[in-house]
Amino acid sequence: MTSVLVEPAERGQRPVFDTVLVANRGEIALRVVRSCQEMGIRTVVVYSTADSRSAAVLAADEAVRIGPAAPRQSYLYAPPIIEAARATGAQAVHPGYGFLSEDPDFAEICARNGLVFIGPEPSAMRQLGDKSTARKIMTDAGLPVLPGTIDPVGNVGDLVNAANKIGLPLIIKAAAGGGGNGMAVVRDWADLVPKFRSTRSVARSVFGDERVYIERYLENTRHIEVQILADQHGNVVALGERDCSVQRRHQKLIEESPAARISPEIVDRLRELAVLGAREVGYTGAGTFEFLVQGEEIAFIEVNSRIQVEHPVTEMLTGVDLVREQVLIAAGRELSLRQQDVRSNGAAIECRVNAEDPDNGFVPRPGELLEFLPPGGPGIRVDTSAYAGWRIPAEYDSLVAKVIAWAPDRERALARMNRALREFRISGERVRTTRDALRAIIADPVFQEARHTTSFLEPQGP
């Protein structure tokens, strides 16, 4: 069944893509399908055998089974995805987040096969994907980075020299790492060399790249990021910041905007820096610049060159459909939005309801959902691909639903989120979720008064 509507905003303009292939799964695949359908674009969703009845597959115009459940043979495996695009006549590929979304090789394979990769140029992705290179470029562009090594640390001698200059605590990071993996915090000189060795060893086995670098580790910081959009015509717009300080296992659990108790001057500065950085690498598409903020101190961490899980927070505040903008930018359109047109209204917060056990280190607890009744009503948006009777696959990440609450101010947004989480009926055999843990965080005076930092859920530090 195809949409009966021609995308109205495109009337009289040259057509955007006729068909877009979504190379992802879960809620983000459905999210991309939604924007494409609203634009009058036909959608093809690829799926593994574990996702046969996913909501994205049900909603798409067409679906192609590309492999077994194992990501390496399906969502991480380029050949069947390209083949599916060819077979269905897709002109563009949206990679979502995770999987192949930040893989410059995949972007190049798409290009070689005549497919538009909906994301930045492979060269920009390649530079930003390597943390050492990204640090170097952003330092050149004038972004503050934490004291640390620009070049990877190759041996213990260099390590000790650099560490002496930087001081403790410091963090050892794999250059190829990401998503909370391949990093270790050193608080004691005795741990320096052993943690250096173990991190290199992990980096070698997990990322196939043993290079690590070190930098000052800031305790009790806030993690603030800036959403940008950049077109192929040199226009870069910062859409606003998101505070993602509530994390478990270095992974975000709650995101909100505006960043509470962060001064407008700092926020403005972060936006300016993000735009500066994006121009420096010739960034195109939607992207996120991540920073640590401690008092008046700002430090650039990294760029995520894709759509973020938490992008709806910004959409709720600005009314901008970020996935739509990604598609338009990839099609070569000029941004219709200028910096001075960006309006942000009220406050929004996102909670990630994951199939995890908060009482046991947030270990995944997937299974079949017997009861699934997401919240609704005023100010509530839910992005999910789950439904009652659906089995959360054990093979992928544990995100089940994103609940986003908007209200005129932060306090009411928190009250609304609390109401929504309370209303959310979700249960299943063996399934446990973060729902109640999220409610507890929302109700915590530390969070309510915005005195939380990245160590809020992990008081002993990572």
Binding site: T49, A50, S52, R53, V64, R65, I66, G67, P68, A69, S74, P79, P80, I82, E83, A84, A87, T88, L370, Y387, A388, G389, W390, R391
Partner: protein, 178 residues
């Protein structure tokens, strides 16, 4: 359902003939049947009632005097939107040869060449029966065992998904086996 399928029935509980309520003539008659007779009668009742439905029962409760036994089976019926059996299992069905990857299915080695097989062809284990082309690479489709081609499910040149059935085959086993 046969009475023997009644799991966890405690016979001792069933035959607690101490009865709080006044025993009327039927109850007395039941009591006179003795343990075995009463059990048989009750189980037959259950079986008869269970068969009345088009599905296996979800719960059976047997009360006899002050004793009661309740047996509940896990829901066999899945709720709406239940996953169909995973395709991982589908592709293991021995009677079908499925696509090893996404691509274009070809019955012959090149345009104009005779097809690898036709309906009725008997193929040996490991013999090629078709091609799935993906990313300009030719991937052979082969059989695991000696078999007869019963049906060819996909047309030459059609796009196929991962795990999509291509052929129905019938294994040919040594005589005496089935």
């Amino acid at each position: 359902m046969s009475p023997s399928q009644l799991p966890s029935v405690q016979r001792e509980e069933l035959f607690d003939t101490e009865n709080a309520n006044g025993v009327d003539s039927i109850d007395a008659e039941m009591a006179r049947l003795g343990a075995d007779g009463a059990l048989t009668a009750l189980c037959r009742s259950v079986a008869e009632m269970a068969r009345a439905g088009s599905h296996s029962p979800k719960r059976v409760r047997v009360k006899f005097g002050c004793a009661s036994v309740e047996v509940e089976w896990p829901a066999a019926g899945r709720p709406a939107y239940a996953d169909p059996p995973a395709t991982d299992q589908d592709v293991e069905v021995s009677e079908k040869l499925c696509a090893p990857l996404v691509g274009t299915f070809y019955r012959a080695s090149e345009p104009g060449a005779p097809p690898y097989v036709e309906v009725g062809t008997i193929v040996e284990a490991g013999q090629q029966v078709g091609i799935v082309e993906a990313m300009k690479l030719m991937n052979a489709v082969t059989t695991d065992e000696r078999a007869r081609i019963v049906e060819i499910l996909v047309k030459d040149g059609e796009s196929v998904e991962y795990g999509q059935p291509l052929f129905v085959i019938e294994a040919i086993r040594p005589e005496g086996s089935s």
